[in-house]
Subunit: 124 residues, 2 copies
Amino acid sequence: MSKRKNSGAESGGRPGAGKPERYMQPSILMALRRKPSYGYELIQEIPRFGFLEGPAPPGMIYRHLRDLEGDGLVVSEWEAEGSWPAKRVYRLTGDGEAVLALWVDYMLRQAGHLTAFVDLYRRG
Amino acid sequence: MSKRKNSGAESGGRPGAGKPERYMQPSILMALRRKPSYGYELIQEIPRFGFLEGPAPPGMIYRHLRDLEGDGLVVSEWEAEGSWPAKRVYRLTGDGEAVLALWVDYMLRQAGHLTAFVDLYRRG
DNA sequence: AGGAATATATCCTTGGAGGATATATGTCAA
DNA sequence: TTGACATATATCCTCCAAGGATATATTCCT
């Protein structure tokens, strides 16, 4: 038996369990491209892209948002209008658009590799 | 600027750089399904599935092989016939076949999500 | 009053990824 | 013959993304 805690079939992207590709960054960028939004809303919106099962983990979202802003891919504004719990509203920048475009290229290529792999499997 | 070393666009699966999804496990299982093989050969064969750029990192391959065997997805036999540097030849088991099938299901779903994402981008 | 929902933020641990490295041997050219 | 290179396997160690846990504050509803 393997000595490793999370060995083979139980680890690193095991189809049934584990943690598969989540594509959090492109999902956030994509959501913000459609309309400006804020952390709490993104947590519920982002799983709709299909890469996540439940709601997105808050810690992840807020950290990504912070990092994205640090890199100039998004900018935020503190919105205290409705006087409800104030929201930090983010929107995409030009740089953010460009990076999203790169992501889309990559994802398209990846989709190609995946379907090629599946085809190969079925022929084999 | 972000304080994190590998922030935003430079990290965790950034399209241009970083380290994207590699699908090492399914690639190994797939290769072994076609024919039994060994570490050194797999290192060169596996990148052909498109998920890797250069040759696969040896450390990764051997660790995966060891783990896979620990989980009963592959079995190995020490082949000292040709008397050259002896090879440990691996082949897929029934459990391995089953796990590969799960992987294929997952990959097909993932491909669907990716193309849907790209479509959404293009329409938006 | 108190519980649920809204909303943001930080901290800490875990574990996969993989680069670096060690080892051994057979081939081939200089 | 000797040294570089290819074949072949294996282990170790470090780094960092992931994300669960947790803290805080406010408003709505019962």
